[in-house]
Amino acid sequence: MIVESILIILKVVVIFAALMTGVAYSTYFERKVVAFIQHRIGPNMTGPFGLLQPIADAIKLLFKETFIPNMSDRFLFTIAPMISFVAACMTLAVIPVGDWLNIGGQRIQLIISDLNVGILYILAVTSLGIYGIILAGWSSNSKYSLLGGLRSSAQMISYEVSIGLGIVGVLMLSQTFSISEIVRQQSGSIFNWYFFKQPVAFFIYFISALAETNRNPFDLPEAESELVAGYHTEYAGMRFSIFFMGEYANMITVSAIASSLFFGGWNGPFLPPVIWFVIKVIMFMFIFIWIRGTLPRFRYDQLMRFGWLILFPLGILNILITALILVL
């Protein structure tokens, strides 16, 4: 019993530390990749190849003044970034990093909690993140923040529907809600990956995930040219960086879910499972950044039309066709 609790705490600490390092270095990765796309060099001054840049950024943000604007709701203003950050981190609890592992007679599963309704948990927790954004927009007492928060909540709610529909396509084939079980079903050959069985579902999921994490080309909540910085206009210092970390943690979890559900998670030849998982997540992060370096921002009405009139019907159609094939 004690051993098990210690193991769980250890797993939480390790995964949280890995997530935080991942968040720090995905900012570096993003800056480098976007720089290369634009024929620039990117950060290269702090440390070799600028590898210490995230640490320098963190130190800078820590020493900045934490400013609360006049007439704002102090309590909500303080709590909003925490909500979105915690919600972003909690999702990773049900994502399997690897299969069972035997260490000193102890069987360890490389997942914090193997919930049998893992996917429902993910959908529930990612919805919580919206509260952070809405509260930030509301409590800042600024028109830009409010508009950014409104846009963001509308966008996330509409795209959550299609994210769910995309996942349902996989669930119908896997007949289970447990993510580690879904990953196990994809072992064996590359053609067992659900990407090849449910390509439409994958594209629906991926596009909605872009919108869900407020990334380009769906980064309307932060549209600089219209809304200054959207819901975190009034934030500075550590509070701002918590929002920022939450956003990148969200990107990582969304990539992890995509690789688990559609690309076989930890499955892969030669290398250890954890490495395969990390490679897949990094590949998805690269695609996120690649898209950011390529596409311009959607207009707001285009975004809504795309979500409700194209992705949503497509998701339902995909489910119908999958059901038909399953029945036949």
């Binding site: 634009q38 024929h39 620039r40 690649w290 898209i291 390529t294």
Partner: protein, 172 residues
Amino acid sequence: MWRDLKSVFWAIPKGLSITFRYLFRKSVTQQYPKNKPVLEDRYRGLHYLTRYDDNSERCVCCGLCAAACPVDCIYMEPAETEDGIRYAKIYEINELRCIFCGMCEEACPEEAIFLGHEFEFAAYERDDFIYTKEMLLANYDNIEKERVAKNIKPLIRKERQEFKTPAAPLGH
């Protein structure tokens, strides 16, 4: 609907392929303070006043550069030596007003003033940007030292006399 589909299945992958190709190209960033930029020969930077080989100044204070200057940043007062050679008693260029157009070097009949390659001459006081004759001559001395060190051919005429002999008539 058809156009939307076309944009998704054709335009977006095309754009992505372009950005992916750009990933591997050489960056055009100049790492400025670390690596100095390569300047063209005709680059117009800080002025310098040239000398003859016997170290006398070329400038005769004719005022043509000040007349040519579109922003009136050159001020000069003439004087004469006992031998009757005219020279500039005061010669000042206000580098804050100067637009580095190069009209002064074009106007100069004595090939006395040129614009060099120096562009890092920041200062804390506005008064420090008024370059006197001594400073402009010192610029020339520095440039000359570097030129001799690198063994580059001088661009300007060497002899004072070359001006005084009339040009040979054409033809015949």
